[in-house]
Amino acid sequence: MAKPIDLLQGTLDMLILKAVSLGPLHGYGVLLRIQQISKEQLEIQQGSLYPALYRLEHQGWIASEWGESENKRKAKYYRLTAAGKRRFQAETEKWNRMADVIAGILSATPEEV
């Protein structure tokens, strides 16, 4: 397994939105899902996960409610709101465009310049 890489500044919000877009999750579940999808290649600071969740909820992209976890404990579940869904699409588009542009720049050869 490769050494996990640190998260790019500002991308945590997008990853959380992606994680909960696949179905409601509690905070710990979000962490697990991101790690699972990234095949354990991303290191997320546990301490910074919750402020991000609170921020997204405050902004209205996600909503929360209390439910029961797999092992019968009370847990707070987050799900994507309609506004969050639009936001996530916009963010994804923006990200893809930027990734393309940056990839193009980085792969440029001397002849192309």
């Binding site: 509690h26 905070g27 710990y28 600071q45 919750y50 991000a52 405050h58 092992n71 404990r73 707070k76």
Partner: protein, 896 residues
């Protein structure tokens, strides 16, 4: 972000704070436990799993703080926290808290008190509908005859022409004050009556509570026997009986019908205190003869501007009308203009400068109080450095620290504001008692909603201002250094002490400015106290023998009446001498009259010189101890049918007959032309209307026994002032005097029984009042500055203990150590004083109108005040300096 979600999370955070907080705890706990469960499943021991979960999560408090912040509710919540924390800190150091709160309470209290006066007198609209459109119209008299007098009362004919010819005013009404006596039930009562031409109530937009106002045509002679009552008079005299309308009352022996009662708030003209409110209004009915009077000016005029007309336009039109009238009637009107003054300026214009000076003074006091609290906070920042460092290490942000300090000063300021309100309440009670005599609208002074809002506003502002410097300073301290060095010195220290030096310098400068102002007022009051009024007030009692207008139908009756009064009074035990005069010195109601001198070219009335004219009886000069400088006094031989005799004042003698002996010169009074009068003596000048008169006023005295009907008018009898010199306590003789006067005629009201000493003192009371207040504020400023200097020097000594220890160890004497500290204090005081002097020099000029016999740049005051500040600074630094002297070098060197 949607608005709804923001509001929801705000609401949740503020209303359900504790629930949100416990949910957050539960959520984080769930996270740890779930993670630990996973670890246990992978074979880690339970204990170890929990430990690792906590460890990997990182700073849990930090995360919580960030969560709170992320919710966007940080401010509301942390402010509460900070306030609670601030309150706890304040209670932990009661001495600090008491000093700061007291300083702020004094500053805020003084501001609240003065603001409530300014609010009631200067800011609050006058109690009429659209008061800003109400205008007082006066004559502006020719400056040659009336130097320095901006306004003059108005003559009937000129008023009627103004009213007819102008297009600027919706209405104009002339009014005057009548002397009326109400009889019919017990003691005769003198009534404060205003007689006004029709239109007064409609100009003021005033509706009566009962009955009606005046109707057109009721200002014609014969139809004017009607009165409208004030609410207060109606209540006290008629016990609020609603059937009063239509009733008859006896005024000056004639029947008047009550036609209406005004509302409680109605008062016109605006009175100074509730006890001098007008009690009745009646129509002013001029006879045709009176309507033609142009040269005798006796009325005030109120008018209301038409919509859309500006004051300037009205003034321009009045100027044009006056010019026309001056051309048409040059004899009477040459040089007489008209001036329109907004009613509010007319009412409060005189007191505005004094009030603004006091407002400025309390602002300075508040600034000093602010500086003081900032200073105390900075001093405390030193002892709290470690606490701040710990808080920073635990994740407090810079903003959070700023907020913390400001919350504390806000809390202090609000406590100060609350206490200040209490101070303001009591000082207002005290002030209004003093003020009532000279401050218009003083009865309206109250701690009302505006004042409370003002107090809240300045409390918050003060809290911010006092907290800003210490907050910035605290947030700047370096975390690592502070933690490492503990209570030792850091780089931020020196910037802190520079800041504190700066604060002390500004405190000294501000107090010097205030002290200078107070010093100048004290000096001028001192000069005023020693001014010779020209008469000897001590032992003299005076009263108005206010016989009703028209009680006597011819001059001889009035002359006889007062002769009998004097005769009776002079024979009372304890009375040395007695006399009457129509207007006593230091009062405003005297008359100005044109005169012509024999042997000088005849001129129109408007070109004649004007002098103060007083009507006296023999014995008056003697009673007042006004010295006779040459010639003889008036005596019992100066009566009707004999040669007219007059006395002139020294200043009149000098200005009319500079090189000659005035005795024997002949002159004529314009309004009493049938008698040529001869100057028989010269008497000393007296203060005519106030103690602070700078120019003696040319005055002529003629005997009551030679009075006649004024030119062009019909005879009206009038009251006189009785002056009695006693060899007992003046007021002790008063009841016997009053009894003697009533024996002659029981229906004559006696008003204003007072000693002449009281009149002198009352004439000084506005000056004394301003002086006392400004003096009190300056004293307050000085006290605050002393506290400031003391705390800075104490701090400096504790900071330099080490250095002093080394100095002592190296052989410095105690005296040298003392000098070291005192020198530092004096340097600060000196810099502050120099800055303060510059400020005081530029500000004291604004006070010129309040000064008498002292220039605004009076060097004695400036030097004395600076010296006082130096001495006080010395005293304030002495205690810390003595502490420095006693520093034990062994302990000092081990100190850090």
């Amino acid at each position: 972000m949607t608005l709804g979600s923001r509001i929801r999370s705000w609401l949740r955070a503020t209303v359900q704070r504790s629930r949100v907080e416990s949910e957050m705890d539960a959520e984080l706990r769930f996270h740890m436990e779930a993670y630990a469960d996973d670890l246990v499943r992978r074979g880690v021991a339970r204990e170890e799993a929990l430990r690792r979960a906590r460890l990997e999560f990182g700073g849990i408090e930090n995360a919580k703080e960030e969560c709170r912040e992320a919710r966007g509710v940080h401010l509301a919540e942390t402010v509460l926290q900070d306030l609670r924390y601030g309150a706890r800190t304040m209670l932990r150091s009661p001495a600090f808290t008491a000093t700061a709160v007291l300083a702020l309470a004094l500053g805020i209290g003084a501001n609240t008190a003065i603001f409530s006066v300014v609010n009631a007198v200067l800011l609050r609209p006058l109690p009429y509908d659209q008061p800003e459109r109400l205008i007082q119209v006066w004559h502006s008299p020719p400056q040659r005859s009336f130097p320095g007098m901006p306004t003059f009362t108005v003559s009937p004919a000129n008023f009627l022409d103004w009213r007819k010819q102008n297009h600027s005013f919706q209405g104009m009404s002339a009014y005057g004050f009548g002397r009326y006596t109400l009889t019919g039930s017990g003691h005769p009562e003198a009534i404060r009556m205003v007689a006004a031409t029709v239109g007064l109530f409609s100009i003021l937009h005033a509706q009566p509570l009962l009955g009606r106002g005046f109707l057109d045509g009721e200002d014609e002679p014969g139809r004017e026997h009607e009165v409208v009552l004030s609410y207060g008079f109606w209540h006290s005299y008629f016990t609020g009986n609603p059937d009063v309308v239509g009733k008859n009352i006896q005024l000056n022996g004639q029947a008047f019908t009550v036609i209406g009662v005004m509302r409680p708030e109605f008062d016109f003209p605006i009175s100074k205190d509730p006890h001098s409110r007008t009690q009745m209004w009646k129509p002013l009915a001029w006879t045709d003869q009176e309507r033609a009077i142009r040269g005798d000016h006796n009325y005030a005029v109120i008018a209301r501007l038409k919509d859309g007309v500006t004051l300037r336009q009205a003034q321009a039109e009045l100027d044009a009308i006056s010019n026309r009238l001056a051309q048409d009637y040059p004899d009477d009107n040459k040089g007489w203009g008209a001036i329109a003054i907004p009613l509010r300026d007319d009412v409060v214009g005189d007191v505005r400068p004094a009030l603004l000076i006091l407002l400025g003074a309390v602002t300075l006091v508040l600034l000093i109080a602010c500086a003081n609290v900032a200073n105390l906070m900075l001093a405390r920042a030193l002892s709290r450095r470690k606490e701040v460092a710990v808080r920073t290490a635990l994740g407090a942000t810079r903003r959070r620290l700023l907020q913390q300090v400001i919350s504390e000063t806000l809390l202090l300021a609000c406590a100060g504001g609350a206490l200040g309100l209490v101070f303001a309440h009591y000082s207002l009670v005290l002030m209004v008692n003093f003020l009532a005599q000279w401050l218009p609208r003083s009865s309206e002074i109250a701690l009302d909603g505006w004042v409370l809002a003002f107090t809240l506003g300045i409390s918050l502002l003060t809290g911010f201002a006092a907290g800003l410097l210490p907050a910035l300073h605290m947030a700047k301290s370096d975390l690592n250094q502070a933690l490492k060095q503990g209570l030792g010195r850091t780089a931020a220290d020196s910037s802190g002490s520079r800041m504190r030096d700066l604060l002390v310098v500004s405190e000294v400068a501000l107090s010097l400015m205030l002290l200078t102002g107070a010093g100048l007022l004290i000096r001028s009051l001192w000069v005023l106290h020693n001014v010779n009024p020209g008469f000897d007030a001590h032992g003299v009692v005076t009263m108005n023998v206010s016989i009703p207008t028209n009680q006597f139908t011819e001059p001889a009756q009035q002359i006889r009446y007062f002769a009998r009064v004097l005769d009776r009074v002079r024979n009372l035990p304890g009375v040395q001498s007695a006399g009457v005069i129509d207007s006593l010195p230091l009062s405003d109601d005297g008359s100005h009259q044109p005169i012509s001198l024999e042997g000088r070219p005849a001129t129109a009335m408007a070109d004649m010189p004007e002098v103060e004219v007083r009507l006296i009886s023999p014995g008056y000069m003697d009673t007042m101890h006004i010295p006779l400088l040459s010639g003889r006094e008036l005596d019992d031989s100066d009566v009707a049918g004999r040669v007219g005799a007059v006395l002139v004042s020294e200043s009149m003698a000098k200005s009319f007959w500079p090189q000659e002996d005035p005795v024997g010169k002949r002159l004529t009074l314009y309004f009493f032309p049938e008698l040529t009068r001869v100057v028989v003596g010269v008497v000393a000048d007296v203060k005519i209307s106030a103690m602070n008169e700078t120019q003696p006023q040319a005055t002529l005295y003629f005997p009551l026994a030679q009075i006649s009907t004024a030119r062009g008018e019909s005879w009206r009898s009038f009251g006189m002032k009785l002056a009695v010199r006693t060899n007992a306590a003046p007021l002790g003789v008063a009841p016997a005097l009053a009894g003697a006067v009533r024996e002659i005629d029981a229906d004559v009201p006696l008003l204003n029984i007072r000693t002449m000493d009281d009149s002198v003192s009352a004439s000084l009371s506005p000056a004394r009042f301003t002086m006392l207040l400004l003096g009190a504020f300056a004293g307050l400023a000085l006290l605050l500055a002393v506290v400031g200097i003391y705390s800075v020097m104490s701090y400096a000594v504790s900071r330099r203990t080490n250095e002093i220890g080394i100095r002592v160890a190296l052989g410095a004497s105690r005296g040298e150590v003392l000098l070291l500290i005192v020198r530092q204090a004096l340097l600060l005081a000196l810099i502050g004083s120099v800055i303060g002097m510059v400020g005081a020099l530029s500000l004291s000029r604004l006070m010129a109108s309040q000064l008498y016999g002292v220039r605004p740049t009076d060097p004695v005051t400036f030097v004395a005040v600076a010296a006082l500040l130096m001495i006080v600074s010395l005293a304030a630094s002495y205690i810390p300096a003595r502490r420095a002297m006693r520093v034990d070098p062994m302990i000092a060197l081990r100190y850090e």
